[in-house]
Symmetry: C2
Subunit: 264 residues, 2 copies
């Protein structure tokens, strides 16, 4: 089976795999045989597990078929988990205000050892043209939030993170060399905000800025995301200053202290 170092509970692990499988599946839902085949278990065992998950609302079953879909409890738990997180609780009103002011989608990422994990998002008005998942470690070098975080690290930390993620390419604009990244970070340290000019996805432009705890350590970054249009340098600068202002506001409300960014 799977190599699990510490003591675990197998049936629970298998159940959680089922949840991820269904959540990652299509919006049509998944059938029992399909699920059993995917996880390589017997139909009867999978059925018992699915019933348990449905009982707790983690999944819901839609007739006819029976097909399994993500349940309401997941939304409830996600909402409660967000309410539990002090950072999200403080950040959300700020994200909302910045979204309204800029008309863009605003997200907040936590600094996870140099990697950004987006934990909340407030959509801008208009139809949502892109979807970015929450709660997962993202690539640091192709997102404005990630680069804003990187710019607050020491050079050796940056090198370590760059090595860990491999500086993989996502689009033709992605920065894939360490020297290129270093140059970019120098620029970020000068202007105080980071950009993502179609480096992660075609047609998407982002601006991000870091925020800090009361030790002056970078807790994460907020970013504004929109569809790429022809922005003048001045417009980018204005947006950058706006994002910085709200990031500073977040730092302040977290009783944090903004560090002097390392110039070189």
């Amino acid at each position: 089976m799977a190599e699990v170092a510490p003591t675990q509970v197998g049936s629970v692990a298998r159940a959680l795999e089922l949840v991820e499988l269904v959540v990652g599946g299509s919006t049509e839902g998944m059938a029992l045989s399909e699920i059993a085949k995917a996880v390589g278990g017997s139909k009867s065992a999978v059925l018992a597990t699915l019933r348990t998950l449905v009982d707790f609302g983690y999944l819901r079953v839609v007739e006819p078929g029976p097909k399994y879909l993500p349940g309401m409890m997941l939304i409830r738990l996600g909402d409660l988990a967000a309410a539990h997180d002090p950072l999200i609780a403080v950040a959300r009103p700020i994200l909302t205000q910045l979204s309204e002011k800029s008309g863009l989608t605003i997200r907040v990422a936590r600094n996870d050892n140099g990697f950004p994990i987006f934990i909340d998002r407030v959509d801008g008005p208009g139809f949502v043209r892109f979807y970015t998942p929450l709660g997962v470690r993202e690539l640091p070098h192709v997102s404005s939030a990630g680069k804003a975080i990187l710019a607050e690290l020491s050079d050796e930390e940056i090198r370590s993170v760059a090595k860990e993620c491999g500086l993989v390419s996502r689009t033709k604009n992605s920065i894939t060399s360490f020297t290129g990244l270093k140059k970019e970070i120098d620029h970020i340290r000068q202007v105080g905000f980071a950009t993502d000019d179609e480096e992660d996805a075609q047609g998407i432009f982002c601006v991000g800025a870091a925020f800090f705890d009361h030790f002056g350590r970078c807790l994460g970054a907020i970013s504004a995301t929109g569809v790429k249009t022809d922005l003048t340098e001045e417009q980018v600068n204005n947006l950058g200053k706006l994002v910085i202002r709200y990031a500073d506001q977040l730092t302040k409300e977290l009783h944090g202290r903004k560090t002097v960014r390392r110039a070189i």
Copy 2:
């Protein structure tokens, strides 16, 4: 133990109880002994389960102590579950627009046999002064969304729902008699929107309107929530018309068809 009619998996059920326990706990996190005592299990068994949940990101452990807190995966799953739900996907831009237009917190509830289940929320600007959970069945008679849904039911359905929830009182403004509720619903059917004038919580005012599927059946309702201020009847009417317009827009984008509301 618990009386479980169909075949289930006990260890999974116990694990999910742990998740709910921790999510419902304080923001400080819960200790192992505390959790074991609460669920009435041995520390070793609970520890193994907790480790599994931590491994999957459902919980996270914070040192020192080890204390257990809701994990990032819950946020991720909640976000994915919301993205899976066609209603949420369609509704969110509309909620965002209405929130921006009205400056209020907008929510959308699904009609669950006459009961509202709020499944998404877009906060208005400014500090959030109230928190309403998502994904749980709420009382139908003390929320504007609930009453907007009720007004689309037949009279016997309303009576059935009223019996089921007992018309319990939440504030001194709560409607607790069936005749009072019937009168209120007649009014809602006339004006097309429902209000909640501090009937669920002191100082909170809401306006809600229903939306429909392509059979003309009431799928749910959206509502605008704000702090109670001295609103003139005209202002309430204007807000009501605004909410109706966005609810109708939602109906339209769901390829739904608005029913002629039953006058009497």
